[in-house]
Amino acid sequence: MNFPVWDVTFGAGLLIALVAILHVFVSHFAVGGGLFLVLTERRARRSGDQPLLGWLKFHTKFFVLVTVVFGAVSGVGIWFTIGLINPTATSNLIHAFVWGWGIEWVFFFIEITAALLYLYGWDKLDPKLHEWYGWIYFGAAYASLVIINGIITFMLTPGAWVTNHRFWSGFFNPTYFPSLATRTLICLALAGVYALITASVQKDRALRARIVRWSAWWIVPSLALMPAAIWWYILRVPADLWTSARGAIPVATHAVMLGGILFLVLLALAVFALLQPRRMHLAFALVVAIVALGAMGSFEFVREGIRKPYTIANYLYDNSVYAKAMPRDGGFNVDQIDQQGVLNTAKWIDVRKLDPADQVAVGHEIFRVECQSCHTTNAYRGLKKLITFRHWDQNEIQLMLGRLNLMHNGVMPPFSGTDDERAALAAYLSTVAPVVPSQAAGPLDGHAVFVRNCAVCHRVRPQDPLFLYLPKDPQTAVDALKSLPMLFPLMPDLKLSEEERIALVDWVNTQRGVAGAGAGGAKGGAQ
């Protein structure tokens, strides 16, 4: 609103995720790999293992080519990307934490210099001095993790900062330490994962087996400890943030499952490498790396998922609207936009007057400034598909838009704006996803009624309020459903037909095993 919204056709969220995942996969290696280099060098020198030293020299080159080149550029890439997609959040973060970033930059500078001197110094420096550069490298790299971790965790759990705006309150926030522990373990594990790659191309079998076993020793214990660190992390995430993640957001739930599975696969592969180091092969090493990338990617998706609807929890929504009014916020907060309207608040809107003829065009602009940070029309989290699935017509869309913040346990910010603007947005969305008449002409299916009208907020499980509190007596329930707001004031005022209500009650009662179900002849039962 304050800034223009970059229309990324395939999905802004997806773009950030891509850049971020590639970057973290390399940048964590840059930290752990540094420790790996010095410790391996020491080990090789102590035992006079010349072949190991030879490999390590080669591995250093690989390390520099991956971390100093790709790692550094993709790090700038994250900066560029968040500035493009989330300028308001970036601007807030910069002003709150520029000194943190400044400190990180000093470490970054030392880190890059040390990496290059370590690489070029292999043949030139005496061993002690060479190792000294290695230690400086690792120290600086870890220090930059220590700093950046404060800023990343801040976004999820800003803690007391939201009220006192103090640097250190935001920095040492509730998830700071568990996240640091988790990331440290990730760094160590990745050092081993990458080492498998260069190890696997060694011709000397005995050497290869030695390196593989040594690398696997970096992976297995780190992975074994990781669940504990992650558990600690989970415990420190405030409950209100969790509820949105526990809901039916398919993306996050799938990512949790995928992440868990990939994690176990990774562990199994690493244990195999530990037990059978001689069987290491480049293809195997690459599979390990890809699985690790997938696991990390899933966890990043989960973290993003938990944080929704916020970019900075309890402070700034993903669509750059502030959660509460505060001084100097430019009026970009939910309450003020509700009063003044989007069209009078947003700067980057072309068509500002709401003529009935322009309704769809205006709706499109509102979509851009309020929804496009998370949605597209046709691609990633595309509304065409989502709305078509629910069979909503324009009126239903408009009613539902009034309650976006309740859907899926609160993954979305509320719609902010006037009722006319909401109508315009609904008009636009109904052109994106025109109603498809449902082909089933037979008796109404209660489950279908539920999916269409209730499932965005309610889930099929006994403890859901719908199943708990809908009156058990079929007739009472059917009558009660005439007005949803009477049941609970925040529910949208959807008008269900008599048949729909009967079918729905029938199905609900079947689900919760209440006697008298099935009388309506609904197909119920199936989820």
Binding site: W6, A72, V73, H95, A96, W99, G330, W348
Partner: protein, 371 residues
């Protein structure tokens, strides 16, 4: 027409230190960054010129590789030194900077893809080039072309960020971010001004390379010195024309600032020009008398003065562009005393450690540049 309504508000967080602190940091780190960038770009251009220009002589190839092996060090220097001004420009000018980048989002983002490719190209030439000289030339050409392109995108963004009146039309015509700022009359001269400076810097880089070979291989070093020194001279001469073009492409009110309108701006221009002319005389004399040290110390010293003046003028120009839209006095400030001093301490310690690292490596003791 200026559309003030499109210019974003600054976010609610106050500046965590006074304005001038960031202005100073921005200026200093930008100057360092642009030094490194100029060396990379100009060095690359001259390396290619040497390879093509002296094709029949072995010297051309040698110059090519002598520059090429420095590029994998100079480029990360340019990148790391670039991160700092990127940070500080966002602190002070975020509302202009983010907006123009969003308007031209794709070219801006693709800069990084170009950078990665160019970077690996430099490594390829440096590691494998001698074994495949033909391929090395092509890879180098691609890498240097990409670097030249990146500079062009940066110039586009910079000019666009200072002219908010151009934003609206571009954005609303194409919100997907496929824009540049080609219609700005200052764009081409501004970019050429920078490009020409880079070539001059490439010349200085060669003079420095000549210095490092002076005792061991006089004949070759002499050749490199002449080539680099002349490149510097010709580029700097051309710069006078380009600079005048740039100056006259500026809107009248901004141009007059440098021609007497503002004492500071005029003084900076005068000193910058004088230093550049001085550098040319020094270099010409050094070449004639084969005084490498004169060319390798005095000329770059004067050029550094010029760059400092020019970079400050660049700031003056930016503030003049934005004068009605941006007033630093209006920024809220609340210095973060709990962390700002820590930054200063770490910064000083970091610089000290950095020098110790180079010293222990032996770089100041005349050791070969690492390779």
């Amino acid at each position: 027409m200026i559309q003030p309504s499109l210019i974003p508000n600054v976010d609610p967080n106050p500046l965590p230190a006074p304005y001038w602190v960031f202005e100073l940091l921005l200026l200093v780190t930008f100057v360092l960054h642009i030094f490194a960038v100029n060396f990379v770009m100009g060095g690359g251009v001259l390396a290619l010129t040497a390879k093509l220009g002296f094709r029949k002589q072995e010297k051309g190839g040698r110059i090519f590789f002598d520059v090429a092996k420095l590029l994998p060090i100079l480029l990360p220097a340019a990148i790391t030194l670039g991160v700092a001004p990127l940070l500080f420009v966002q602190v002070l000018y975020g509302q202009f900077f983010y907006t123009s980048t969003i308007v031209m989002a794709w070219p801006w983002l693709l800069v990084l893809a170009c950078l990665v490719v160019a970077y690996y190209g430099f490594y390829y030439v440096s590691y494998r080039g001698k074994r495949h000289p033909g391929k090395a030339g092509i890879v180098m050409l691609v890498s240097v072309a990409l670097i030249v392109l990146i500079g062009f995108v940066f110039s586009n963004n910079l000019t666009l960020s200072q002219t908010p009146s151009r934003w609206g039309a571009k954005y609303f015509a194409d919100p997907t971010g496929w824009n540049l700022n080609l219609s700005d009359p200052t764009l081409i001269p501004r970019y050429l001004h920078f490009f020409t400076a880079a070539v001059a810097f490439g010349g200085l880089l060669l003079v420095l390379i000549a210095l490092s070979k002076w005792e061991r291989d006089r004949e070759y070093a002499r050749h490199v010195f002449q080539f680099g020194g002349k490149a510097f001279l010709y580029a700097t001469m051309a710069q006078f024309l380009v600079g005048i073009w740039f100056l006259f492409s500026l809107p009248l009110d901004l141009r007059t600032l440098f021609l007497g309108g503002s004492l500071l701006a005029t003084l900076l221009l005068a000193i910058g020009l004088a230093a550049a002319i001085g550098a040319m005389f020094v270099m010409a004399r050094a070449l004639r008398q084969e005084k490498i040290r004169l060319g390798a110390y005095a000329a770059p010293g004067l050029v550094a003065l010029t760059i400092l003046c020019m970079a400050t003028m660049r700031d003056v120009l930016r503030d003049a562009y934005l004068v009605r839209l941006f007033n630093p006095q209006q920024l809220a400030v609340r210095t973060q005393w709990s962390v700002f001093p820590l930054f200063l301490v770490i910064f000083v310690a970091g610089v000290a450690l950095w020098f110790v690292m180079l010293k222990r490596y032996g770089i100041f003791a005349g050791a070969k540049v690492p390779h």
